[in-house]
């Protein structure tokens, strides 16, 4: 096993290699594989931003679709009705809208814990779907929005930059006072409050930041889709998959959401091509197996194997231990 400088060097090299491969990917891949890659990046970014709040504080949110959808809708409307605004400005604005929205939601709802919080966030996303589709059907009389087309390359690079920014954000905040405070809330909220963590402020801000990141992702994804309506933008899979992917990878770890999202997205893409309508059955079975058999996810299993390996390597020969009497 590598330690110290050698390990750092290997990790840096690996990251640089992956980034370079992702950056030059569009030159070699056809449109289908590019869209698969973009899909993987999308869910990776979503899982990382889900993990940032829900993973560390253990406030399981199934409302990611609300924030993702609001970002997507905002960007789509903006792109459709005003030509000439640069894309980064739209993405930033979408994030800010989400920040404000999540701040308002968080202030009211973050008193609830456990299963109540899950149901509440889920209901909020459902209300958003229903109200928007009602509004479009009866007030504006136009269902959905058409988005001006972008090339596959533009869309891919937008998502790549977004994913990298979110990843950097997560890495930087992880060991900061803020990130550690969120983690402590997850371990024990009472203890955190006693040590002096302002739990209310931390939770609300963490929720809002996580929502802002999801808004960025949604806005970037608007470059990929030609048309959206409320059912596409607020689809429940955008709430469920980030949670499941993070759980598969391992909650509370940096690599967990990344590994989980890459695994599930590529697996479901492969299975849906090869198995057709049976693939959702397999996916459901996989999800159940994850929850039942791997409580700490892939990273937990890796950790277990690692400690076993180390103890096996470092273990002294049992015969030596027996002292001669």
């Amino acid at each position: 096993m590598l330690r110290g400088k050698a390990a750092n060097l290997t990790i840096t090299l690996a990251i640089v290699l992956i980034l370079a491969m992702l950056a030059v990917g569009p030159l070699f891949l056809n449109t289908y594989y590019l869209s698969v890659l973009e899909y993987i990046l999308l869910f990776m970014a979503l899982s990382v931003s889900w993990q940032f709040f829900s993973g560390s504080t253990k406030y399981i949110s199934l409302g990611s679709a609300t924030f993702f959808g609001v970002g997507l809708y905002f960007a789509a409307k903006y792109l459709a009705f005003s030509i000439g605004t640069p894309l980064p400005v739209i993405v930033l604005l979408a994030g800010l809208v989400n920040f404000a929205l999540a701040l308002a939601i968080g202030l009211v709802t973050l008193r609830l814990r456990g299963i109540y919080f899950v149901i509440l966030t889920f209901s909020i996303s459902q209300v958003a779907i229903n109200v928007i589709s009602w509004y479009e059907a009866t007030v504006t009389h136009t269902l959905g929005t058409y988005i001006p087309l972008f090339t596959a390359q533009t869309s891919y690079y937008t998502m790549l930059v977004c994913a990298i920014v979110i990843l950097l954000f997560a890495i930087l905040l992880r060991r900061s006072k803020f990130g550690l405070g969120l983690k402590m809330i997850g371990e024990s909220e009472e203890a955190a409050a006693h040590v002096g963590v302002n739990t209310g402020l931390y939770k609300t801000l963490g929720f809002a930041i996580s929502a802002m990141l999801m808004g960025f992702i949604g806005a970037c994804y608007a470059t990929y889709l030609p048309y959206i309506n409320s059912d596409i933008a607020f689809d429940f899979s955008y709430s469920l998959y980030p949670a499941v992917m993070t759980l598969l990878g391992g909650v509370g770890t940096l690599l967990g959401p990344i590994i989980g999202s890459v695994t599930i997205t590529s697996l479901s893409e492969y299975l849906s091509v090869t198995l057709g309508s049976y693939f959702l059955i397999i996916l459901g079975l996989i999800l159940i197996i994850i929850v039942v058999l791997m409580p700490d996810g892939i990273m937990g299993m890796v950790g277990k194997i690692k400690t076993k390996l180390w103890s096996w390597i470092n273990e002294e020969n049992p015969k030596k231990k027996q002292l001669p009497t």
């Binding site: 253990k58 399981i60 009211v108 709802t109 609830l112 814990r113 456990g114 299963i115 109540y116 899950v118 149901i119 509440l120 209901s123 909020i124 459902q126 209300v127 229903n130 109200v131 589709s133 009602w134 059907a137 009866t138 469920l240 949670a243 499941v244 759980l247 309508s277 049976y278 959702l280 059955i281 996916l283 459901g284 079975l285 999800l287 159940i288 929850v291 039942v292 058999l293 409580p295």
Partner: protein, 301 residues
């Protein structure tokens, strides 16, 4: 728009229609919710897949109706036990293991919730691959009955009355039998119940099965008068049942019974008002408002 809705609400015929229509829906909703509540109250598993057990009940009834001409009321006795067995099987294979693994109640609740989100993927697509995606219905006893000027279908009234009877029977079972006593004991104090010799794994499996049974019965009765049951209808009824037990209070039997009627009225009034598209939004708003104002629900402990 608003004015016309108010005028509509005021006429007596509409009032009667709302009072009975809401009660009919409420009876069926509370049957589903009683099952869901039993599962949550006893084993702390919030079964998000309950709507899919309902759908399974509908499909079993439909299968026996079309292939063997079995009367839907009689096939309650077929669909119920089949889904009951399936529920027990799922509890033993999936949820018992989660109960072992989890360290705290909160962890158990979130983990089992995620497992429940995976169940619909399997159930819905298995049914889809067997029966296809076309909507089904059996059309049994569709005679209109005139109640004080408002028209209702006889099968809806029958379903509502039977739902209420089944719920009340369950109440009596919970109140006066030893199994009911064991269930209440586990809901109150799991560790203590184990200490006095109650086999909690058996009771967990039984309560999960009964929850599945009740939703299957509701599904069998729904298929008599709704002809829009598809393999993917489950989440819709899950959401309604969820709203009912949140409003009534998780773990409270009376709460889910009365909450069912409350949500039934909300549902029916918004359906017959001038905003029928917003029906689900109103139901979800009930969840949100109750969770913010009084998270325990009206009758929660």
């Amino acid at each position: 728009m608003v004015l016309s809705a108010q005028v509509n609400l005021i006429s007596t015929q509409n009032l009667v229609s709302i009072i009975f229509g809401g009660a009919i829906l409420g009876g069926i909703f509370s049957l589903i919710a009683v099952g869901l509540n039993l599962q949550y109250g006893v084993s702390r598993i919030l079964n998000i897949a309950i709507g899919d057990f309902l759908m399974l009940g509908s499909y079993v009834t439909f299968f026996f109706f079309t292939h063997y001409g079995v009367n839907p009321i009689v096939s309650l006795a077929i669909s119920g036990p089949i889904v009951f067995g399936l529920g027990i099987l799922i509890q033993i294979t999936v949820f018992r293991r989660i109960v072992y693994v989890s360290k705290s109640t909160e962890e158990l609740e979130t983990k089992s919730l995620l497992a429940c989100f995976a169940l619909p993927f399997i159930i819905e697509n298995v049914v889809f691959n067997i029966f296809g995606g076309n909507p089904i219905g059996t059309r049994y006893l569709s005679v209109t009955v005139n109640i004080l000027g408002a028209m209702f279908q006889a099968n809806m009234i029958l379903a509502a009355v039977m739902s209420i009877i089944i719920s009340l029977v369950m109440y009596l079972v919970l109140r006066f039998t030893s199994i009911g006593l064991a269930m209440r004991a586990i809901a109150e104090e799991p560790a203590g119940a184990q200490l006095v010799g109650i086999n909690i794994f058996k009771i967990h499996a039984l309560s999960f099965g009964i929850g599945a049974l009740f939703s299957a019965l509701a599904g069998s009765m729904l298929v008599m008068f709704y002809s829009n049951i598809t393999p993917y209808v489950g989440p819709y009824y899950t959401c309604i049942a969820l709203a009912v037990i949140i409003v009534g209070g998780m773990g409270s039997f009376i709460g889910s019974l009365l909450g069912g009627f409350f949500i039934g009225y909300v549902y029916y009034i918004s359906l017959s008002s001038s905003y029928p598209l917003l029906t689900l939004a109103f139901v979800y708003s009930c969840i949100i408002i109750v969770l913010i104002v009084r998270p325990k629900g009206f009758f929660g402990r």
